[in-house]
């Protein structure tokens, strides 16, 4: 060794990391890639341009994106309430936030479907008053994904909000800012990067979500069929190459979107002087 590292354990740590990455992430993904290569480019293209496949991509990414943004807004408000206010049952409420993490997704899906279906508790109420059907529509998928995505936003925003120096708010007020100005100009810019991280996590999870969605989605081709379900369908028809082709495309799209979100985050942080 030409020079010794100050931090000990570089070799074992990096070896472990690489082995782990290879076993859990790289090898399975490469296998998928290889499987896709069994298809010619034309075949691959034919699968992707299939109208049903394209519709499912629109449903999956669209619903995940809308759900992540809504979960971002709601999650921010919930995190705000948990950090800033005291109310009875706060600790219980705090624990409830994590439930979607722990609950088997299928259970969540069945419960959501039962409640929001046209004859369910809430579904009936909404149906009667507005005529809008929630379950078995893309709207139902969005509902399920909001449920799944919410804890990601709350848990990323909460610690940042907790650490936020309230003296900055007082400073804004002493300089003549209204509550709204203090919120928009001082609090929000400091919390936005964490909120974007939360939204990105919720989105990433939402795109791949299967269990909680299929029960409420209705799974009608061209309307409420999500990509993961389409993959399962292909697998059941022993169309392994087709399934992996869709899977790979999803992987690439998700990766690009996450890259975009990371870039957005970098831009926000830079603009807010945190870099």
């Amino acid at each position: 060794m030409p020079q010794s590292n100050i931090m000990p354990g570089f070799r074992p740590a990096i070896s472990f990391t690489l082995v782990y990455l290879a076993l859990i992430v790289l090898i399975p993904l490469s296998a998928m890639l290889l499987k896709t290569f069994q298809l010619s480019l034309d075949e691959y293209w034919a699968i992707l341009t299939n109208a049903r496949v394209q519709a499912s991509f629109r449903v999956s990414f669209g619903a995940a994106l809308i759900a992540a943004v809504i979960a971002g807004v709601f999650g921010f408000i919930i995190a705000w309430s948990l950090v800033r206010y005291n109310f009875p049952g706060k600790r219980l409420f705090d624990a409830l936030i994590d439930l979607p993490f722990a609950l088997p997704t299928a259970v969540a899906g069945i419960v959501l479907a039962t409640i929001y279906e046209p004859r369910g508790w809430i579904g009936k109420l909404v149906m009667d008053s507005t005529g809008i059907q929630i379950a078995y529509k893309p709207l139902g998928i969005t509902f399920a994904l909001i449920f799944i995505g919410l804890p990601f936003v709350v848990r990323t925003v909460e610690p940042v909000l907790q650490e936020f120096d309230t003296a900055m708010e007082e400073a804004a007020a002493s300089l003549g800012a209204t509550r709204l100005q203090a919120f928009v100009k001082v609090i929000l810019p400091n919390i936005l990067p964490a909120t974007i991280t939360g939204v990105a996590l919720a989105f990433a999870r939402g795109v791949g979500e299967y269990g909680s969605v299929i029960f409420i989605a209705g799974n009608m081709p061209y309307i409420s069929e999500i990509v993961p379900l389409l993959i399962i369908t292909k697998l059941e028809q022993y169309d392994y190459a087709g399934a992996t082709a869709i899977g790979l495309t999803m992987l690439i799209l998700s990766f690009l979107l996450l890259l975009l979100i990371n870039g957005l985050q970098w831009w926000v942080r830079r603009r807010s002087g945190q870099l």
Binding site: E170, A171, A172, L175, R271, G273, Q274
Partner: protein
């Protein structure tokens, strides 16, 4: 009166932070609220600013009752202990903040705002840092930016919470002088909170000593030092030697030149510079032993040990100039004669 508080009380649960405080501060003064931690000085400052509500009592700024006014309507400039600069804004935007949030009809044009901010940054000698972010500044620079930001809205009073608390000693010394000069130039009525008596004496034109939520004494720094109102103030402001007559110090004090005729209490406080020492020439009962000394710049602090009646040793501190001390040719362990010129008596 620029700032008046009347019968202010504040409780936090069972703890009394402020107990019926009344205080008048004339226009243009630079006042120090001085006291040990937990004495209520920061709470009082925050009540004046409107960041905290008093349980009882009123606050007047420039003669107007502002007790029920929120902080944003009080026209105050507040400098926070840890500066509370907006991390996501450049130095320029931090200072401009107060000008930009004004209602549209009062808001100045962009060009005027620019000029004003640059003028303020020049005033605090940091215009060259205008495009930096707060995280990239040193403590002293942040402090001055926080001050420039507070001054931008042309406050009628300036309130500073432990303005030098988080700075290292040398920066603190410079900034004290600088703040004094700045106050002299701007002449805006200012209050700053500190627990450092030296800082209060050096910077303020008026010192208010607080303890346990009450005002112990208010006056010019010199008056408070020379005529402390009670034992707490005497002990808190400057160094002092405490002699308790109940502990058989009375006889000894008489032999060192303090006439008991002037006695006005049971406890004598003697400032170190009111103690004169000489090399012992004869074997008197009054002698004390020189234990050690420390250099305090132009002064020497001498630690003396006096053997008490029942054999207990007690330390007495004296101060004199370097020259005087050198002329005495004293060594550690020497016996010295001691004379007390003046004492403050308390009950």
């Amino acid at each position: 009166m620029s700032i008046s508080v009347n019968n202010i009380s504040k409780h936090f649960g069972a703890f009394t932070a402020l107990d019926n405080i009344s205080l008048d501060i004339p226009e243009g003064e630079l006042v120090a609220l001085l006291g040990p931690s937990g004495c209520g000085k920061t709470t009082l400052l925050r009540i004046i600013a409107g960041l905290e509500q008093a349980d009882q009592g009123d606050v007047f700024l420039k003669g107007d009752k502002v007790t029920d006014q929120p902080v944003k309507n009080r026209q105050i400039g507040f400098v926070f202990q840890h500066y509370a600069l907006f991390r996501h804004m450049t130095v320029f935007e931090n200072v401009a903040f107060g000008l930009r949030v004004k209602p549209r009809r009062e808001r100045l044009g962009e060009a005027i705002i620019r000029k004003k901010v640059h003028d303020l940054l020049s005033l605090v000698q940091l215009d060259w840092l205008h495009d930096r972010y707060p995280d990239q500044l040193s403590g002293g620079q942040r402090q001055r930016i926080a001050l420039a930001r507070a001054l931008a809205v042309e406050p009628s009073v300036l309130l500073l919470d432990e303005p030098f608390g988080a700075l290292d000693a040398s920066v603190r010394k410079d900034l004290r002088q600088w703040l004094r000069n700045l106050h002299h130039d701007l002449n805006v009525t200012s209050i700053f909170v500190t627990h450092d008596q030296e800082e209060a004496m050096e910077v303020a034109s008026q010192v208010v000593v607080l303890n346990h939520g009450r005002i112990e004494q208010q006056g010019a720094p010199g008056d408070i030092y020379d005529h402390p109102a009670n034992a707490f103030v005497s002990r808190f402001i400057g160094q002092t030697n405490v002699f308790d007559l109940d502990e058989h110090d009375a006889d000894w004090l008489q032999t060192v030149g303090l006439s008991m005729a002037q006695q006005k209490g049971k406890i004598a406080h003697v400032r170190p510079h009111d103690i004169v020492i000489e090399k012992s020439t004869h074997h008197s009962d009054a002698y004390v032993t020189l234990k050690d000394w420390q250099h305090l710049g132009s002064l020497i602090r001498i630690e003396l040990v006096k053997s008490g009646v029942n054999g207990q040793a007690a330390s007495v501190y004296a101060e004199m100039s370097n020259d005087q001390f050198r002329r005495l040719h004293l060594n550690r362990g020497d016996k010295v004669d001691l004379r007390i010129r003046h004492a403050h008596w308390f009950h």
